[in-house]
């Protein structure tokens, strides 16, 4: 049990029924900054503090896999200043948080079109991945330069080339072959997807992987998202009956 005096909800969480793979769309940095009269860039700095808190909390709770939508393919089109800030925040966070990851036995993973990241960001990321590769408590995956549709299109190209080169036959192409070629091939399906800041859409994130995930939308803006908000999401998840196409009677 964690010593988290801030959340009276802790006692309500059933540690036997945690989402094995939790994914979060960390939306609302810009809106938060605007509300407070700050520059957007300060919103991203503030957002990175929430990231740190939530990673620690998920690890303490015993969640196996945490995936964060850090930077989407669409984000490359934002103003250069903002993109540069985001890359800077990323690199600094990676450097600063490595000790915490090591202390907490957290393995770093990344998905997306990573080659589009600036060279120094790629290098820093690879460094952290290498140094944490033997950790086993929780796998933390950052979705960077990531778009789900692009991920799937990439899979099609790889599979098509394999078919052309007689490595795979067309008849064997099914859900599991596709799964094997996704960036997330070594991660289980998502059990719970949280999106902050009140938007009710998925926005090109893990479209394939969330087929049977419980979705949780909250109006809280990402820089304001705390351990308590995470607990509320998990409690909501635990109240739900997951049937995967069967009936209630069949799953009992």
């Amino acid at each position: 049990m964690t010593k988290n005096q801030n959340s009276h909800l802790m006692y309500k969480i059933n540690t036997d029924n945690l989402p094995n793979h939790l994914a979060i769309i960390m939306d609302g940095n810009g809106r938060w900054a605007k509300q407070k009269g700050f520059l957007r860039t300060l919103g991203h700095e503030s957002g990175s503090k929430s990231v740190k808190k939530i990673i620690k909390e998920c690890s303490d709770l015993g969640i196996g896999f945490l995936t964060l939508y850090a930077f989407s393919t669409e984000n490359w089109n934002r103003p250069k200043l903002e993109v540069d800030t985001l890359m800077r925040v990323l690199i600094n966070s990676l450097k600063k948080e490595l000790p915490t990851l090591l202390e907490n036995n957290i393995k770093m993973n990344a998905i997306g079109n990573l080659e589009k990241l600036p060279k120094n960001a790629q290098k820093e990321l690879q460094d952290v991945i290498n140094k944490t590769k033997d950790n086993t408590k929780m796998t933390l995956t950052l979705a960077l330069s990531y778009g789900s549709r692009e991920e799937i299109v990439n899979v099609v190209k790889i599979i098509s080339d394999k078919v052309k080169n007689n490595i795979i036959s067309i008849d064997t192409i099914d859900d599991s072959i596709i799964n094997e070629h996704l960036y997330t091939h070594n991660l289980p399906d998502v059990d719970l997807l949280i999106r902050t800041s009140g938007e009710h859409r998925i926005s090109n994130f893990l479209l394939w992987q969330i087929a049977y995930a419980e979705l949780y939308f909250t109006d809280v803006l990402w820089p304001d998202f705390k351990q308590q908000d995470l607990h509320e999401a998990i409690i909501s998840y635990q109240k739900r009956e997951r049937r995967f196409g069967k009936t209630s009677e069949q799953i009992k």
Partner: protein, 352 residues
Amino acid sequence: MMWMSTNIFYSRGVSLNMSWIREGELNLIEKLSANILKAGPMPKHVAFIMDGNRRYARKRQMERQEGHTQGFDKLAETLRWCLNLSIHEVTVYAFSIENFNRSKDEVDGLMELAKQKFIRLLEEQENLEKHGVCIRVLGDLTLLPLDLQQHIARAVVATRTHNKCFLNVCFAYTSRHEIANAVREMAWGVEQGLIKSSDVSEALLSQCLYSSNSPNPDLLIRTSGEVRLSDFLLWQTSHSCLVFQSVLWPEYSFWNLCDAILQYQLNHRPLQKARDQHREGQALQQHEADRACVADLLQHHGNGKPLDAQRRQEALLNYTASREERVQDFLGVLQHKRDSFLTDLTSQAALA
């Protein structure tokens, strides 16, 4: 004779075999609300996960099958409301491939219900033509009993040319299965030399899905309180407004629909912005990809001398044009395969 054929008997009483088309206008208050809504942005394509039939039957102490039947009636009513609200395309999740895992009784009951409904549909052809209703069935039809496949094929072929409104029924469907099917088609296209691996793009994948003739849904509504997608239109709803309502499907009302549309309107601006950004990004990406292909070609087939800007531009335009033609031809082949599958089923049905 006709009266007899329009009745289905259940253990708890008689239920009329209700039509797919509901005539009727909205009442005054409904009309007023519709007009208020229509002053704002309206979804053109709405998708429904019609969940809650069984829970409804339990609640009303009916047979489960009756819950499904009433669910169908609610579908017909909802279609009517959509048309009154000028929503011309509706996609519904009627039967998931995962539902084959349910009890044999329930699955057989659902197959029988579907058969009756498609037979009824064919009896209403005149009415469907009058309202311009085009019915499409999205899913892996080969998983269904042959007679049901044939009824579906006849209904789809009979309404193919109608174009005033579109009902897409997802039956024997899951999104992953749909995507896997599209992947197989594209891999086949590359294997056969009809398209190149570099031709594969988001746009092409969208065109290879069962839903290729429809724009993406603007709004997805799921009833009965569950908040998940359950393997439904995962690709197509990437930028759709998602609305989850706790009402059970057979109890769905015009006001529930208005409420969902209101949610869409409140979210409309950021949604539209996100979609536009994505589309622009895609166009840029395609342009870059074409440029890379041209550069590659010139490097391998050129005489070593760099081309001037004008020649490069010409080469790019030529490449883009030939890629688009190649892709169109490939899609034509796919369409022909699908059409043949349906017409084969209808001619089998005719011979039977």
